[in-house]
Symmetry: C2
Amino acid sequence: MTWIKLTRVPDASLTATKTISLSVIKTACSNCNLRELCLPFGLSIEELERLDDLVSTRRRLKRGEHLYRSGVPFDAIYAIRSGFFKTDVLLEDGREQVTGFQMAGELLGLDGISSEHHTCNAVALEDSEICAIPFSRLESLSREIHTLQHHFHKVMSREIVRDHGVMMLLGTMRAEERLAAFLLNLSQRFTARGFSHAEFYLRMTREEIGSYLGLKLETVSRAFSRFQEEGFIAVQQKHIRILDVAGLKALMNHRA
Amino acid sequence: MTWIKLTRVPDASLTATKTISLSVIKTACSNCNLRELCLPFGLSIEELERLDDLVSTRRRLKRGEHLYRSGVPFDAIYAIRSGFFKTDVLLEDGREQVTGFQMAGELLGLDGISSEHHTCNAVALEDSEICAIPFSRLESLSREIHTLQHHFHKVMSREIVRDHGVMMLLGTMRAEERLAAFLLNLSQRFTARGFSHAEFYLRMTREEIGSYLGLKLETVSRAFSRFQEEGFIAVQQKHIRILDVAGLKALMNHRA
DNA sequence: GTGTAAGCTTGATCCAAGTCAACCGTAAAG
DNA sequence: CTTTACGGTTGACTTGGATCAAGCTTACAC
């Protein structure tokens, strides 16, 4: 279960790190196995080391714990090192909208930049670990490292594009299409992280899926059952096996 | 069709510009009356002048014309100088989702940063004028001007927060709530631009409103009629007068 | 002007998803 | 091992918004 990934060795410095304790190795972006998915993408060795300085705070969260809440002052964004999160917005009258589910290598907290306060809640859906990245220091560093700056802009833009996808889903798709899109998206993201594309555990409840997809939990449950009857998937509570990716994809396009 | 842009002359410049023709004066951020809403927000005089250099290309679009289309290479973002736009995403099967309506002072094209290609279409809903801001030059300049960098980040983040609002709307609100939220949002943005908060012309069709709100055009039309019956607004085709802001607001919260 | 097409309104009907309700399965607590 | 609580499934019924259809208004082309 290592994390040691000895990459190219420019000078003796990296070999030096190998002699120190595993827990210390784990604290650096330069040794993080998620670096190709996360903020460090595309950085050189020296640049990576400068980023390491910045990402000094790490935090573990238990399932159900909040990483941040809507309204609290913003001063850092967070990279998920391991675990699974949801973000949601609550209306005064109690209505909840889940705005996203985030997994390892993804960033949380970008919503807070605009008003200097977080505008949604981020909750761990399983025991998780995150790296806090003080935002003003990230801005400083990205003024110096072009690659970092550009990659950060790409990450923000990707979030906007993702949101457009969700708007499309909520605005134009019917229940089963939404759920199919959701499962295919999860599958694809698990794959990118080296997990099975066909078999995974859902970390969220039917109600949370429903909130994300603009459906009631009963509708989500029925759609799961229907997919199982059709032979597209095998469901048992939170355990999902995708049996027919093409079938699910077809279901999404079989409209006008 | 000019676009000549004589920029300062590092000293004596401001007085100098005043002597040249109005149309030329208009081409600079430093003289743009939208600068407090747009990218230049918070910049000093000298910083503004550096931004002027960057924003050299201006373009007029007729109603119905595309500013960019999904799939084309991305190399600039666009500031709306005057006019009104929609952005939309088209699915292969012909379904359309309008992802936003943009007015003067707002930025278009942020979606393209992530993949270096635009991922939606931007269409002028009335004759409009935009300023093109070459993105790599904006990145360079924001590496030098902290304020610009930070403000740009805020703008991107604001877009993410806005999208969350739309997700909330599409995911949890009923038809009349959605339309009320839409009208109040437009009203608020017109106000910020010095127009009447109570009276305005819609630049988009019922179908485009419907697409944005995840409703069919008939539902939008019926909701307008209903609002009129209730005395919240006066509608005549695209001409809207808001008669009871509080009533519309109440309508949005009158839920469990 | 007059004709035509695009956009808007309104009515009648239908259906996908919501609501309400009962029951089941699993997991943690005692 | 039993209890309890939470989450999930399934059924019966309701309903908000979609669909289908007709007529109206406005703006522009000729």
